[in-house]
């Protein structure tokens, strides 16, 4: 777990500022003990991060160069996961595909999630006209199913990683805002928010200190789900031929064409990229769940 070591300053501050708290390392360790599934998730996510960031060193072959002497070869010592229809090494493409997945997954989730969080909490907190206006705008955006909005965006701007990110991020915003709002709505009525308001605390302070932490649990579930959803949405777009394009190595793209054409005759082409997607999203979700349990303010240090 050495890779999960926090940096020094963070350790210092938590040790100095909050002497009664355990150190982050201890907390990470206790997290691993308490949350074996979360740890498994963390391992999967870390594996993906390492693969993505270190692809240049890990991948045995160039992921984009064709080798017509080795087309659709089954897994072997030379090609541990086999080769695809262009003779490209599948392991190398999956390793480099992790990088694309990181870029697409995290960018979409973070941008979409944060914008959604702000809109959702603000909408619930201010209520009245603001809430009404936000809700109408969000309703309109929500009315476009993710994949339909994405189809239109890609048709307008064309394919490519940036456009795929735009296409996936836009529809995530209202989904986040709505769920956050519904959580925040129940909290708004809780006495301590009223109390905070009567104490004359500012909007920003109430929102940030009281409401945001209270919607953090559903938000984090969503955020982790979003990373997964973005990766899955990219796969769906690719399946429709409108995602990331050849020869960029991307998991969803690798399932397009290959998965269907060779599912029976060269199943490794269909199976391994699918597994890469499934395991990564699986890991992210496990980790997200565990993180939620660990971070839930009502649960912490109890």
């Amino acid at each position: 777990m050495s890779l999960a070591l926090p940096n020094e300053t963070l350790l210092d501050r938590s040790a100095a500022g909050r002497p009664f708290r355990r150190s982050l390392l201890q907390r990470v360790l206790s997290f691993c003990v308490r949350e074996p599934m979360g740890t498994l998730g963390l391992v999967l996510v870390l594996a993906m991060l390492i693969a993505g960031l270190g692809a240049d060193w890990i991948a045995p072959y160039n992921p984009t160069s064709n080798d017509f002497t080795a087309m659709t070869e089954p897994p072997s010592w030379a090609h541990p996961l086999g080769t695809d229809q262009f003779g490209r090494d599948l392991l190398s493409r999956i390793v480099f595909g992790a990088r694309t997945a990181i870029i697409v997954g995290f960018t979409c989730a973070i941008v979409g999630g944060v914008v959604g969080l702000v809109l959702g909490v603000a909408s619930a907190y201010f209520g009245g006209g603001v809430d009404m206006l936000f809700q109408r705008v969000l309703d309109v955006m929500m009315a476009f199913p993710l994949i339909i909005m994405a189809l239109a965006v890609v048709a307008i701007f064309g394919t490519g990683v940036q456009n795929v990110i735009i296409a996936i991020t836009i529809p995530l915003i209202p989904r986040c805002a709505r769920v956050v709002r519904s959580s925040a709505l129940s909290i708004r009525e809780v006495p301590y928010i009223d109390a905070a308001r009567t104490c004359g605390l500012g909007h920003a302070r109430i929102i940030l200190r009281h409401m945001v932490p209270n919607v953090m649990a559903p938000f984090l579930i969503l955020l982790t789900a979003f990373v997964g959803q973005a990766i899955l949405a990219e796969a769906s777009l690719s399946y429709l031929g409108l995602g990331v394009q050849e020869p960029v190595p991307a998991w969803g793209l690798m399932l397009q064409g290959g998965a269907e054409e060779y599912a029976s005759t060269a199943p490794w082409i269909a199976i391994f990229p699918g597994l890469a997607i499934a395991l990564t999203v699986f890991g992210i979700s496990l980790f997200g769940d565990a993180l939620r349990d660990a971070l839930d303010p009502k649960l912490r240090d109890r």
Binding site: T72, F86, G87, G158, G241, L242, E246, E261
Partner: protein
């Protein structure tokens, strides 16, 4: 009437026209009965009107309902030069110095509503194609610029008068979309045939489930005695290739008529053995790479030439043919045509050099000279797997070998054409795909857009136009072939207006119980199903 029709059939046979049994089936007597279920690789035709549409989805769905004037021989559809009568009784010899073609129309032909078909119907249909009335779309109007007029001097004679003799006329006339409609209906509403079906073909229309299937039943009054053999047919629409292959595997459908990639063929043959019969043919379709001459640095002939030199079709085509439906290395003319270049002739041109190392060294030298080393650009492509994206992926890797960095931008059909029309691209993959092999008209695709509006290269080239016109006017075939070589060299080597990729290869694996259908170089051709029967 019946005897006359029968007589006409015999006459037709004597003249080498369509009769049921072709050479391959000579030993077998066709069986009557049964329903052919086949897949149509599309979501559905935009309309039923062949005159207006250009997609195979229309012919695959509606050709069995209609007759045409002349067509490729359904028993020898792979020939690029043999045309036979459908509604006419005899292929005419041109008179008046090659400017007049007179067709005798079969007697006793009835439309499905029972009314007789006469030369007036034939003329009305052709007029709609050649010179459509205001507000009516004809997709192939430009093929017939050589026609002066069409007339019907009597109920069984149709005369085409040309402005000048042309070798391109008969092949254009054999267009499989040129359905013969009923004049009375066209007079009332020229759009009627877009939504409705009423012809004189071997099958009568039964039903159309929008987006799902089209059904037809035997026309008992069909003018070819004994045909059609099938009781009926069902065409099921399925745009996804995997569904179509699965359907053939599970015998939910017997076949599809467009063409499947080699992987699908191998899978079906491996599993089903002799229950599957495979027919293959060169395909009159090809992907072309067009650099935008208005975009720097592709205005520089040296850069375009480098793009061409870097591509190695001689090694690429055999490999690509294992995974995509492309195969034959060729120039601008369909490889099966007498006008096509031989391999030796090809090897004189950029992108066909036999020594690829030498070619790539030359390409790098040209790039350096033009100051375009390590150039990054976007390859525009269409959102179709087979073979567009396969070809695109191959090209990008080929170009990477001379240090060029291409990324692929894939667009759905509408935005794809808009990008090309508006010149919003660096280099684009496009395609040329024709029904009847007619090289003289087909290569017009390579003429500057001032002449051929849908050339997307954005260049002017008077020399090229002159060459083309000389070739078109030439009626001596040997001289014409020579001019075609000059034209080809000019397009592909001297100016590098375009780069050819391997020609498509059509692979039709079908259930072995389907008999009588023969493959042709075009998926638009030979779809009336009259001579198809089921051995069950």
């Amino acid at each position: 009437m019946r005897t006359k029709a029968a007589l006409a059939t015999v006459l037709g046979a004597a003249l080498g026209a369509a009769l049921a049994a072709g050479p391959a089936d000579a030993a077998e007597t066709p069986k009557r009965g049964g329903t052919l279920i086949y897949m149509i690789p599309a979501d559905g035709p935009p309309s039923f009107d062949g005159h207006r549409e250009t997609t195979f989805a229309t012919t695959h769905a509606t050709a069995p309902f209609y007759s045409v004037l002349i067509r490729v021989n359904p028993d020898n559809p792979s020939s690029t030069t043999e045309f036979v009568c459908d509604l006419c009784t005899e292929m005419p010899k041109p008179t008046n110095g090659g400017k007049t073609y007179t067709f005798k129309i079969r007697e006793g032909v009835k439309f499905h509503d029972g009314s007789p078909l006469t030369s007036a119907d034939v003329v009305a249909s052709w007029k709609k194609i050649i010179d459509p009335p205001e507000g009516v779309t004809s997709a192939r109007k430009s093929y017939f610029s050589m026609v002066a007029n069409v007339e019907a001097p009597d109920p069984h004679t149709v005369v085409f008068n040309l402005e000048a003799p042309s070798n391109a006329f008969l092949p254009a006339l054999a267009d499989p979309f040129a359905y013969i409609y009923k004049k009375e209906i066209l007079d009332k509403d020229p759009h009627w045939y877009e939504r409705n079906i009423m012809g004189s073909g071997p099958f009568k229309f039964v039903s159309y489930e929008v987006g799902q299937s089209i059904k037809g039943e035997r026309n008992p009054d069909y003018y070819r005695q004994g045909q059609p053999y099938l009781d009926g047919f069902v065409g099921i629409f399925a745009a996804k290739q995997a569904v179509r292959v699965d359907a053939i595997r599970a015998d939910r459908a017997a076949m599809e008529f467009r063409g499947l990639p080699p992987s699908a063929r191998d899978q079906l043959v491996k599993e089903l053995g002799d229950k599957i019969t495979v027919q293959e043919s060169d395909w009159n379709c090809v992907n072309i790479v067009t650099p935008n001459h208005q975009k720097k640095p592709f205005d520089d002939k040296r850069v375009r030439r480098a793009l061409a030199l870097a591509v190695d079709p001689w090694h690429g085509a055999p490999a690509l043919s294992k995974i995509a439906n492309v195969r034959t290395v060729g120039g601008i003319v369909f490889p099966g045509s007498p006008l096509a270049a031989t391999n030796e002739e090809l090897q004189q041109m950029a992108s066909f050099w036999p020594d690829i190392e030498k070619a790539r060294a030359e390409a790098k030298r040209l790039l350096k000279e033009a100051g375009a080393e390590g150039l990054s650009f976007v390859l525009n492509n269409r959102n179709i797997d087979q073979p567009y994206k396969f070809v695109g992926t191959w090209l990008i890797d080929e170009w990477s070998k001379i240090g060029l960095k291409a990324t692929q931008r894939v667009l759905p059909t509408g935005p794809f054409y808009e990008a090309m029309r508006s010149g919003d691209f660096d280099v684009t993959v496009e395609f040329n795909c024709q029904s009847v092999v007619n090289p003289l008209l087909d290569v017009a695709k390579f003429l500057p857009h001032t002449v051929y509006t849908e050339n997307y290269g954005n260049y002017e080239d008077q020399k090229e136009i002159d060459l083309y016109n000389r070739m078109l006017a030439e009626t001596d075939e040997a001289k014409q072939r020579d001019l075609m070589r000059q034209f080809e060299k000019h397009v592909l080597d001297t100016e590098v207006h375009a780069i050819m990729t391997p020609w498509w290869y059509r692979i039709i694996p079908h259930r072995s119980y389907v008999k009588g259908w023969k493959i042709s170089p075009s998926h638009y051709l030979n779809q009336d199903l009259a001579n198809v029967w089921l051995d069950q």
